[in-house]
């Protein structure tokens, strides 16, 4: 069993940012936030997309892995001009299906992200941020349909393939933002 997913954070690590692994804050106002539960199979995909993107995107983009974040997602988005969220989705479509939703345009469908063990799922946290007037001007949500979310499992192969595609799409999306 590999429970210590994250090494203990260094002294001086910025506190109060939820259960996150993040790069030092940069001047960038694009923030990529991967969500999920590392220990539950395909539910880890959002975290793993973020981890990959950390190596791929330039200094202008901040990357955060946020496990089981709930309402603290609002604080994580604070101050960003553009936020890109990635999470596992469960809408009944086949595993690996990629959803791209523009949450800045309006509420995202609750049915796509129905599972949350922390009272507020991603859809509700975004709506709470919207009514409080703190939703970043642009919020894009990538949902990747999960297959197997059993504890202790690796990503299923359709979801692992989708991970590669989403990483490519988000790199392009960031480039467009900076264009």
């Amino acid at each position: 069993m590999h429970l210590l997913c994250d090494p203990f954070l260094e002294a001086g690590h910025q506190a109060g940012r939820g259960d996150v692994k993040r790069d030092e804050p940069r001047s960038s106002s694009i923030r990529i936030i991967g969500l999920g539960n590392e220990l539950r199979g395909d539910d880890a995909v959002g975290l793993l997309v973020a981890r990959r993107l950390r190596q791929e995107v330039g200094d202008r983009t901040e990357v955060i892995e946020a496990e089981m974040v709930g309402v603290d997602l609002i604080a994580l988005m604070e101050g960003a001009r553009v936020t890109i969220l990635i999470d596992a989705a469960r809408s009944g479509q086949s595993p690996g299906t990629i959803h791209r939703l523009d949450a800045s345009a309006g509420p995202i469908a609750l049915q796509i992200f129905p599972h949350s063990s922390h009272v507020l799922g991603i859809s509700e946290a975004l709506e709470l941020a919207r009514v409080m007037g703190v939703l970043p001007p642009r919020v894009i949500v990538y949902g990747i349909e999960a297959g197997n979310t059993e504890a202790g499992q690796a990503l299923s192969s359709p979801v692992a393939n989708a991970l590669d595609k989403v990483v490519g799409q988000i790199i392009q999306e960031c480039e467009t933002c900076y264009a």
């Binding site: 203990f8 954070l9 506190a15 939820g18 496990e67 009272v119 007037g133």
Partner: protein, 443 residues
């Protein structure tokens, strides 16, 4: 989603089944089934159908050093509670006594969890019930400043958890004997300004929730909590009850009995065969003399005399405990000097150890049997929500008669409000709640 089903069995009597498929703002997956016959509440069953998670079983055979990280995964809201009960029980076996600064740090970490958990419940889960909203989001539309305050308060708790625990959910620094790392003084000092703001905000919170209107409802509770001779209980103490019970933690299983009910995946726990209440209300009522001056003053200024006997006053108790936890955190930070070592040495020996600590929702009992190699032979965990299940059912039996003349959807909503008073964590014991009211016979 709600639904009403009517059937007419033999004799022409009407049976009505009302289902509410998604009750929000409860942590876990469960349902409530109520049978009403001839206008009288017959059965109340809180059905926890979240699948059994078998944590006690898969602790068997693990090394004792893995236990804090495994049990932290039982709950995303109260992982520190699980870690604390575990390390105290294991330290009892190994005759390790964590004192001084390390003890203070554990207490501080626990305060962080109380602040996080209570602030979420007060502001987003329960306050909408008193202000007439069906969700925290709906409430935030009209009360954005209040919700902003609540989220910032919660964040102050997160900051403590992140600094001491390495992360705000499922901390990774807690170990038998102490911590894997302790903070520098300047790191704790850096929290002070925000905690001072949060203490003022907590004072505002107490005033805010005390201004709500509460239903007139005062069941005859047996309160159960820890009591410590010198402090408001978090990590240590005797188990005391309002019926006069006063026992050491090692006697827990002689007085408290878990039993299975057919309709629930969570065991029920009773005290001498009867339901009882654990959590902030019980803690506050049994430990008022250990509140800080500021906390006592806040209660006095509002004219609030303890004991509080109304379950709906649980929101006040939580707000008071947030204030207490911030006051206590600042006190602990003020006197902090880093310990020479982050953790005490541990010599493994075989034995059985028990511990009880005060999770945000009430006492959390752990017992471990460890062999000479430091492997877990047996584990027993009794979470607060499973202890409160019987009491929730009893409250509903007592509260429902006043509701029966009202339409089913209103009855359902009121029942949910009663349940939310307990801040049940159904992941610990069960995710959303289905409410099913069955009415038989004449009203």
């Amino acid at each position: 989603m709600e639904g009403t089903e009517r059937t007419k069995p033999e004799g022409g009597r009407e049976t009505r089944t009302i289902a509410v498929d998604l009750v929000a703002r409860v942590e876990g997956e469960g349902a409530l089934r109520v049978t009403v016959k001839d206008g009288t509440v017959q059965d109340v069953e809180l059905r926890i159908f979240e699948p059994p998670r078998f944590f006690e079983a898969f602790l068997q055979g693990r090394h004792y050093s893995e236990v804090p990280d495994i049990v932290a995964r039982i709950c995303g809201i109260c992982p520190v509670a699980y870690q604390m009960s575990a390390v105290h029980a294991l330290e009892q076996i190994f005759a390790v006594k964590v004192e001084g600064t390390l003890r203070d740090l554990r207490r501080l970490l626990y305060c962080g969890e109380w602040i996080e958990s209570h602030a979420l419940h007060v502001y987003l889960l329960q306050a909408p019930d008193f202000l007439g909203y069906d969700s925290g989001i709906a409430m935030a539309k009209d009360h954005a400043a209040v919700v902003t305050r609540g989220l910032r308060l919660k964040k102050a708790g997160n900051a403590i958890m992140t600094l001491l625990g390495g992360r705000s959910v499922h901390p990774v620094s807690v170990q038998v004997g102490g911590f894997s790392r302790v903070p520098l003084r300047r790191e704790l000092e850096a929290l002070k300004d925000e905690l001072l703001w949060a203490r003022d905000a907590a004072m505002e919170t107490v005033r805010w929730v005390a201004s709500f209107e509460f239903p007139d409802f005062t069941p005859d509770y047996t309160y159960v909590a820890l009591r410590h001779p010198d402090e408001y209980p978090l990590n240590e103490g005797q188990i005391v009850a309002s019926n006069g019970l006063q026992i050491s933690v090692s006697e827990f299983e002689q007085h408290f009995t878990e039993h299975q009910v057919a309709y629930s995946n969570a065991l029920h726990c009773t005290l001498q065969g009867a339901p009882y209440l654990v959590g902030p209300l019980a803690r506050l009522n049994l430990n008022q003399k250990h509140l800080t001056l500021l906390t006592t003053q806040a209660l006095a200024d509002l004219g609030l005399a303890l004991p509080l006997r109304n379950p709906f006053h649980g929101i006040i108790a939580r707000a008071v405990e947030v204030l207490y936890a911030l006051d206590e955190s600042l006190r602990l930070i003020e006197r902090y000097e880093p310990p020479p070592l982050p953790s005490l040495p541990v010599t493994v020996r075989a034995g059985i150890g028990m511990a009880c600590t005060e999770a945000p929702r009430g006492i959390l009992y752990h017992r471990y049997h460890v062999d000479g190699d430091g492997l877990i032979r047996e584990a027993k965990i009794v979470p607060p929500t499973s202890q409160n299940q019987g009491r929730i059912e009893q409250d509903l039996r007592l509260f429902m008669p006043r509701l029966l003349s009202r339409p089913d959807n209103e009855v359902a909503l009121e029942c949910e409000r009663v349940i939310r008073c307990y801040d049940p964590c159904i992941s610990c014991a069960t995710h959303f709640l289905k409410l099913d009211i069955k009415r038989e016979g004449a009203m």
